[in-house]
């Protein structure tokens, strides 16, 4: 059985600047994989390539046994690959509920939107309380919850979380990570993009460490010591 998501030798550029170089990684169904790296390592760029919002100059992306390289984003989402982008990117002028409804925009998700909404409200009861409030008025943690809920509404097979913990209080981070593990237990495959080595190693099964656009180390998280990871992470 092949991997659910497979990224092969991706090269990505902003103008002449190469932000990702020959990056490869893969994620098996129902697993949690981390992509770890410092600020500027190229993690977000790689996620953009996977989601189709940035075209790679080289390499391939496979999802659910299909070559999705160069596909428009809306088709990729329709296949069940969803993203919680860096910073959440909630629709600030729309209500929490409307944000969630937007998550079920694809034909794949629309028919099950009601049930999905209940599920999201169960996972984050806070979102139900704030359903009518503009998403832009929420705190950082609450906005991340909207972004996660919105991704879930698409009925995804895989979700990429890009630095979900950035700028959040430790208790909030803990809570959000618990939810992510719960989603994984329910069968959703997870890609966790993180700067925090310790927390991501604790959560994932397999980790890929990126440095200056390249994947410099990878392995089962139980085989990776924090020390070897840190060395790769800082390029020592």
């Amino acid at each position: 059985m092949s991997a659910l998501l497979k990224v092969e030798n991706i090269d990505a550029f902003y103008g002449d600047f190469q932000a990702v170089q020959q990056a490869s990684f893969e994620v098996d169904e129902k697993k949690i994989v981390s992509v770890i790296g410092t600020n500027g390592a190229g993690k977000t760029t790689l996620m953009k390539v996977i989601g189709g919002t940035l075209a790679a100059r080289g390499g391939k992306v496979w999802f659910a046994d299909r070559d999705i390289t160069g596909w428009p984003t809306y088709k990729i989402v329709e296949l069940g690959l969803s993203q919680v982008p860096e910073g959440g990117k909630v629709f600030a002028r729309m209500s929490v509920m409307e944000n969630l409804i937007m998550g079920s925009y694809t034909p794949r998700a629309r028919s099950g939107a009601k049930a999905s909404l209940e599920r999201v409200y169960e996972l984050f009861p806070m979102l139900k309380e704030k359903a009518g409030q503009a998403a832009g008025s929420l705190s950082g943690g609450q906005r991340q919850m909207v972004a996660i809920g919105r991704a879930l509404m698409s009925n995804p097979r895989l979700i990429c979380f890009d630095e979900i913990s950035l700028g959040l209080a430790p208790t909030v981070i803990k809570d959000i990570y618990a939810r992510i593990r719960q989603l994984n237990a329910e069968g959703i495959t997870i890609v966790l993009v993180e700067q925090d080595v310790k927390r991501s190693l604790k959560t994932c099964e397999t980790a890929y460490i990126m440095l200056k656009g390249k994947v410099v180390l990878s392995g089962k998280s139980k085989d990776l010591t924090e020390d070897t990871v840190s060395k790769a992470y800082f390029g020592m």
Binding site: T73, K89, F91, M94, E98, M102
Partner: protein, 286 residues
């Protein structure tokens, strides 16, 4: 006194229509971030399409809408998806130039096919009015035009809140990267938004064609009205557009009544200038 009251009524009624003239432009400003310099010309194009349909099928102006509205939607969708979408990533100038080009093309095509003569969409309703008192009357066509303007704005606002496609349009204007991640096809959404904008130009174009003479070159008059309404109301604010329409209509007609009809246009522009100086973000923007 009666004359003033009469002009207030007429100004408000015209204002409702002006709001309808501005809403389509405001929408495209807010969502696609394009200044559609051809908005007025598209509106006049709709008047001519109506004229043609009325002649060919023997319909009245109102029934001609059955054809004008879908035709205008199609034109808007096509212009957006085949041309404007291709240049969106290249900064503000290329789309601006395309709309400017359309303004010239439409004017000249209309001139070629319809000559420079004054046209009017005739309806017996133009001469009818409701008497309020002996000297104050509500002209029926002004009333219908006002209602048309207000109704398209209300319908638009419901559409934007209730339907998936309407929400997708709002989401796209909030954050178009994030909207893509929800599965929204941005280019198609822009096409639909422009199509809807042109539908509003279609309805208001037909109303204006029944009220006033129009020529192939009339577009600029309505572009400026649309522009004024957008500036006064604040970009992307539906309520703002409505209020701005009323203010602009009132200023024109009441000002014209006091200072003389020849000043009617000028007064409108002065209101616009005052707004640009003292509250350039519009009445209803934060």
């Amino acid at each position: 006194m009666d004359a003033i009251i009469q002009s207030i009524i007429q100004g408000l009624l015209l204002g409702g229509l002006y709001a309808g003239v501005g809403i389509g432009m405001s929408m495209i400003f807010g969502i696609v971030q394009i200044t559609n310099l051809a908005h007025g010309d598209f509106l006049v194009l709709a008047s001519f399409v109506s004229l043609f349909v009325m002649g060919a099928l023997g319909l009245n102006p109102f029934l001609s809408l059955i054809i004008v509205i879908p035709v205008m939607f199609f034109i808007g969708y096509a212009v957006q998806t085949t041309m404007l979408n291709k240049v969106l990533t290249r900064g503000a100038e290329p789309p601006l130039l395309i709309t400017f080009g359309f303004s010239i093309i439409i004017q000249n095509l209309l001139l070629y096919y319809f000559t420079a003569n004054a046209q009017k969409l005739s309806t017996p309703l133009l001469l009818k009015s409701i008497a309020v008192t002996d000297n104050i009357r509500i002209p029926i066509m002004y009333l219908i035009s006002c209602l048309a303007g207000v109704v398209i704005i209300l319908l638009l606002s419901v559409y934007m809140r209730v339907t998936y496609q309407g929400k997708a349009i709002r989401a796209t204007s909030d954050d178009n990267d994030a909207a893509q991640l929800m599965g929204v096809n941005i280019k198609r959404t822009y096409g639909i938004a422009m199509g809807i904008s042109m539908m509003t130009a279609g309805v208001t174009g037909v109303m204006i064609g029944t009220l006033f003479n129009f020529y192939p070159s009339s577009g600029s008059t309505y572009l400026i009205i649309a522009f004024a309404v957008v500036v006064i109301g604040g970009i992307g604010s539906i309520n703002g557009t409505l209020v701005a329409g009323f203010i602009f209509g009132l200023a024109q007609v009441v000002g014209g009544q006091i200072l003389g009809a020849t000043y009617q246009q000028l007064i409108g522009y002065i209101v616009l200038l005052i707004m640009l100086i003292f509250r350039p973000q519009g009445l209803f923007s934060k």
